[in-house]
């Protein structure tokens, strides 16, 4: 049976990440930065390459580089899943999930799910003993490099091969001078955290390649969720290093998407927690009819139900992280359950938070909408709840 609790070390990790984010990335700051990044992209797209008054250059994304330096480099969190011999922490999905809960709670724009989970898993799936792969993992663990898997979102697991093929269909490889070096041509739409990438892991017709970000072009897309930008990656005979052949690449992508889906649930739990805690606090203060609004039973019951949902979401997310960490035989089932449950839980918590804040919940200034947009995007990103339930029909032997 899985361990569904948090260890003392995990509690300490949470406390460290939480206090860092509270200092450096309160929701108002996150929103201001995200909006500035979008404005800068728009200006850049309109031809002006100038920096705005906010100092943002087009293509930089909503990230806070100084914050990422602390998270990735100083705290070593980008390398949680990287083996120790490559400079990583050799930790597990349980710790990575704790980090994601906190990043979700603060809706922090950071390429963590994409760079430190999905890309790392894809690389591990290519074989960490290979020099090209090891070099990339070492760079990620040191917080020097950020890799992003160039798959168009939404992309769910369970059809990893199909997902890879879809991307591959749009990217073609032409062999270069050596077996490993070639050139890639094509485009991949909706690559999440594309602006954060130093290097893209690109599935192509003959396997998985590494392409330096500078060798391709990223066209910004206006995202529903400004805190996790999307980009269209365009490659025109870009120099590439092949990391794995077609078969290994398929398995590596499958593995990456499974871990991504399982751990996205932790982020969704964090989003839901913030929404409930903030709404409860607000409604204890907000008075109408000469009483705190949080004292009306219709409201109390809605909040109590959100709490119940959070209890189940936490258990489901924790089970998925633990199963991934143990390499458990039912990791696929727990990940599907976690996504099917937590995807809806986060959206519902955000929707209820908005409604129960009244007019202020509709304002740009108040951060509920940032959570709503993230929650809605998350519910689509790595497969909708319906997609994961359908997967369970096969995984849990409940055929149509």
């Amino acid at each position: 049976m899985s361990d569904l609790l948090y260890s003392e070390a995990e509690d300490d990790l949470r406390a460290a990440v939480r206090s860092l984010l509270a200092d450096r990335a309160d929701p108002a700051a996150v929103l201001a930065r995200a909006e500035a990044a979008w404005e800068a992209d728009r200006r850049a797209a309109g031809g002006g390459r100038d920096r705005g008054a906010d100092g943002h250059a087009g293509g930089a994304g909503p990230y806070d580089p100084a914050l990422w330096a602390v998270l990735a480099r100083e705290m070593g969190l980008a390398g949680l899943l990287v083996p120790e011999k490559l400079g990583g922490a050799g930790a597990s999905h349980r710790e990575a999930a704790v980090v994601l809960e906190e990043l979700g709670r603060a809706v922090t724009p950071a390429p963590y799910l994409t760079g430190a989970v999905i890309a790392v898993e894809a690389l591990l799936g290519c074989g960490a003993e290979r020099d090209e792969v090891a070099a990339l993992l070492t760079g990620i663990a040191a917080g020097r490099r950020t890799a992003v898997l160039a798959l168009p979102w939404p992309t769910g697991p369970w059809r990893g091969g199909a997902a890879r093929e879809r991307a591959a269909a749009t990217v073609r490889a032409r062999p270069g001078g050596s077996a490993a070096a070639g050139r890639l041509t094509g485009a991949v739409s909706s690559v999440a955290d594309a602006p954060a990438a130093d290097v893209f892991l690109v599935p192509a017709d003959d396997g998985l390649h590494a392409v330096e970000a500078a060798a391709g072009a990223v066209e910004p897309v206006t995202p529903l969720d400004l805190t996790r930008p999307l980009g269209r990656l365009v490659l025109d005979a870009a120099p590439a290093v092949r990391l794995a052949g077609a078969e290994v690449a398929t398995a590596a992508v499958e593995r990456a998407l499974l871990a991504g889906a399982g751990l996205l649930a932790a982020e969704q739990l964090g989003l839901a927690e913030w929404c409930l805690a903030t709404t409860v606090a607000y409604l204890k203060e907000r008075r109408q009819f000469a009483r705190p609004v949080g004292g009306f039973q219709a409201v109390k019951h809605r909040l109590a139900r959100l709490w119940l949902q959070q209890v189940s979401a936490r258990a489901a997310a924790r089970a998925a992280a633990d199963a991934l960490a143990r390499g458990a035989g039912d990791a696929a089932v727990t990940a599907a359950v976690a996504q099917a449950y937590c995807g809806d839980a986060a959206v519902r918590a955000a929707e209820e938070a908005l409604q129960l804040h009244g007019g202020i919940g509709m304002t740009w200034e108040y951060p509920v909408h940032v959570y709503l947009k993230r929650a809605m995007s998350d519910r689509i990103a790595l497969g909708t709840p319906g997609h994961h339930r359908t997967a369970l029909a096969a995984l849990a032997d409940l055929p149509a």
């Binding site: 609790l5 409860v280 709490w307 119940l308 489901a316 359950v337 339930r389």
Partner: protein, 410 residues
């Protein structure tokens, strides 16, 4: 049930201790002295109680060894492997799950010695005389009076929805001893002898056709003061122990494997009867399966927290979740069965001693599960409790807190 709340042995490091090894040794020694195959069931259970292997977290001399609760699993695993007789928890659930923890916590040494051994072995069955026609959710408003008369109390009133009163030897009873103070302060908690001539048990037939619960009329019932549990006027506080344990017992204190609850019944039917499948039912089954699995895992966390010595508020959520899941799973099953869903196994007005969810048809499950969100505190009341005690939201304004009970509008 109290003796079953202990997690299984692989739940945590807590059990990998010298204490666990010692318990294993004791249990094996006990089994050698009382081989299950050669020992009468009752003799075995009595000896097990005497050996302190009944509920190890109870004190020595009362069926336990003062050991951590989580270690019960070690004992249970040994006993089960040896084919030891199991408790009939269906009949004795109220005793084990509610009366016992209350008597342990608030009873006198004499009461514990007198009541706990036959309660645990199942020789004496217990029922719960709390709810009244005028006091359900608002239990503290109850009107059954207990008046002091020498070294006894004379009890008059009516209780209702009393499960198992027809085969109970004893009852836990909450009665009003002081109508002149606010309602929460004027109650006292007793143990009532169900064989007293003033106790009249009448069956109440329920929607399933059977009469699992009863009306109990109390007329001049004499309860010795020695059967008072806790101080006079302290009944509400004592009853909290009962109610909290009741919710844990109903919420599912036992560890479930995947598909262990009502969802498993539906899933099996689904697999065995492909001809019943429709796309709509498939979607609903998958959605419910996900929810049931999330709730099962959510029920596992409080157990692990308890074993690790850090109980959290999550336990209070489980009764709500399981009630709703049992209702929806059994409804889905009934609908899935189609033509068979139109039928019912048996409307005979039986007087069952246990609730047999799995041994009966889908229609019975559907109907009986309706009670899950009413018995032991309704889901609405539990949502109030979560909102106020877990989330810290303000209570509704109320007029009944400070006025004397006798002055409240009824």
């Amino acid at each position: 049930m109290a003796e079953q709340t202990a997690p299984q042995a692989d739940d945590g490091a807590a059990v990998e201790t010298a204490e666990a090894a010692e318990l294993t040794r004791r249990t094996r020694e006990f089994l050698a002295a009382h081989p299950p195959a050669a020992t009468e069931r009752l003799d075995f259970l009595r000896a097990r109680f005497a050996a302190g292997l009944a509920w190890v977290h109870y004190p020595e001399g009362l069926g336990g060894l003062g050991a951590p609760r989580a270690l019960q699993a070690v004992v249970d695993a040994e006993l089960e492997a040896a084919g030891a007789p199991a408790l009939d928890t269906g009949r004795t659930g109220i005793g084990l799950g509610m009366a016992a923890p209350t008597i342990l916590q608030h009873g006198t040494p004499e009461q514990r010695r007198r009541f706990l051994p036959p309660l645990w072995t199942g020789e004496e069955v217990w029922c719960q005389l709390f709810s009244e026609p005028g006091a359900g959710s608002d239990l503290a408003g109850l009107a059954t009076r207990a008046v002091r008369d020498g070294d006894a109390w004379v009890v008059d009133g009516q209780k209702v929805w009393t499960s198992g009163a027809h085969h109970a030897r004893w009852a836990i009873l909450l009665a009003r001893t002081d109508p002149d103070v606010p309602k929460h302060r004027g109650m006292t908690y007793f143990v009532c002898d169900m064989t007293d001539p003033g106790v009249d048990v009448r069956p109440l037939r329920q929607i399933t056709g059977e009469a699992e619960f009863n009306e109990v009329h109390l007329a001049g019932v004499r309860v010795p003061d020695a059967q008072r549990v806790g101080a006079v006027g302290d009944g509400w506080r004592v009853a909290q122990t009962t109610l909290m344990n009741e919710r844990v017992a109903i919420g599912g204190s036992r560890r479930l494997p995947r598909e262990g609850g009502m969802i498993g019944v539906v899933a099996r039917t689904w697999r065995e009867r492909p001809e019943l499948r429709t796309p709509d039912l498939h979607q609903r089954l998958l959605a419910l399966w996900v929810e049931a699995e999330a709730a099962r895992l959510a029920g596992e966390r409080p157990r692990q927290q308890l074993a690790a010595g850090h109980p959290g508020p999550e336990g209070s959520a489980m009764k709500l979740a399981f009630a709703s899941l049992a209702q929806r799973a059994s409804a889905l099953e009934t609908e899935l069965l189609g033509e068979e869903g139109l039928t019912y196994d048996d409307w005979t007005a039986r007087r069952p001693e246990t609730v047999d969810f799995l041994g009966r048809g889908a229609g019975y499950r559907y109907l009986r599960a309706k009670g899950n969100s009413i018995e032991g505190g309704t889901s609405e009341i539990l949502l109030n409790i979560v909102a106020e005690r877990v989330l810290g939201l303000p209570a509704e304004p109320r007029a009944d807190k400070d006025a004397a009970w006798k002055d409240l509008p009824r």
